[in-house]
Amino acid sequence: MGVKPLSPLDLSIAACLLIVLGLFSHRLKLGLEKQLAVSALRTTVQLLLIGQVLRILFANASLLFVVAISMVMLAVAGREVMARQHRRLRGSQGWLLGTGSMFISSFSVAFIALAVIIANDPWYTPQYAIPLLGMLLGNTMNGISLSMDRMTETLWQQRQLVEQRLLLGETGSEATAEIRRQAMRSGMIPIINSMAAAGLVSLPGMMTGQILGGSSPMDAVKYQILVMFLIAAGTGFGVMSAMWLLTRKLFDNRDRLRLDQLESSS
């Protein structure tokens, strides 16, 4: 059994809900009408485009094509991590740091899942590779941007305390150990919470999609468990490597706190 196709009319009815919401936003002076319209439009255009790309991709499953698309996804996720920082590393190093951490964690976890666990032939079968990598990148991106933001913000506020510890002879890594631990926790808490609540509060999106698509609930559940584990591992390792790299960037070879490496976004 395939999924029942939606007609443009079906989507228009859902869009009417947003128009009503926009009217309320205007009446209540929330000022969100424009953002709402732009985001709704972006969702439509971006998803229609990726639908076309995936259609072509599924028709010719070449490794090169899959790699190219995953690189684009990675680059955009890296940009998104940067955009969410209140204080970010100057120049391209912030982008490289976020992107590098996501690459290390998401790509290695996705590779293990595809080549060892799911083991399709070929292992990069795009119907599996692209959605899996997308989910991993999306969640790792959240975790990394949360923890980087927490780390730079806390360092900024507690710079005098950190410098006091440096003056007493601690290394940069020792002086920021507690701050780094807290930042790692704040990056990992969301996925830990959603693992704990999965199935009780909400049915995860991927599982819902699979059930709508006609899979048996038990198959969908098993895939969802796999994906949860992968996301937790990917986010955790991504956050850890991002915090390690960020500490190295924010202290120089003489263990000085270099907050001049950060610039504040307006």
């Binding site: 005098q160 305390l161 410098e163 440096l166 003056l167 007493l168 601690e170 507690e178 120089d252 263990d255």
Partner: protein, 208 residues
Amino acid sequence: MNDLQISGLFFQNRGPYTFRIVPGQVVGLQGASGAGKTLLLRAIADLDPNQGQVRLGDMAREQVPAPIWRKTVAMLPAESFWWFDAVGDHFQVPVQAIEATLQQLGFESDVLNWEVSRLSTGEKQRLAIVRLLQNKPRALLLDEPTASLDAENIERTETLLVDYCRQQQVPLLWVSHDSRQLERVADDQYYIEGDGTLQEVRGGQHGR
């Protein structure tokens, strides 16, 4: 001899500074606010990027890792910061090693069980000096060490610090706004002008 030699020290468009403090000598440093007294101490402690040479006796800064340098040439910042809940957690040495210093500054050793949040500004200041001295520094850089203390504690603190300097034969650089204090404690005095130039104060009284 472990004298503190600063030569051609340059940072943030200030300097170059060249001067020398011999073991057991207290050098006072005054200057307008914003003249860069704290920045000078931070540069010597290698806490801010800077150029130039700083040596303690035969040891050049670059020969040792920065944390070792900062334990050896120890800087006391004007405001002290504490990160654990209990005072004692900030000390890595056994109680016996700091008991005498604590008493000289008017504390019993049970102060180590106190909560940091209960300390007054002055208590924090005095305890920060004990915390600094636990590393047995070989040179001292003090930024307003008695700024928040009452008269009795100012005297205790001055005595403790000058005694440490004389007995351990360490060079001591003492920043203060109080010229009468510097007359009491300092053997020689420098003044930093608003533009950052350093001048030796002539006719400065020799203390003690």
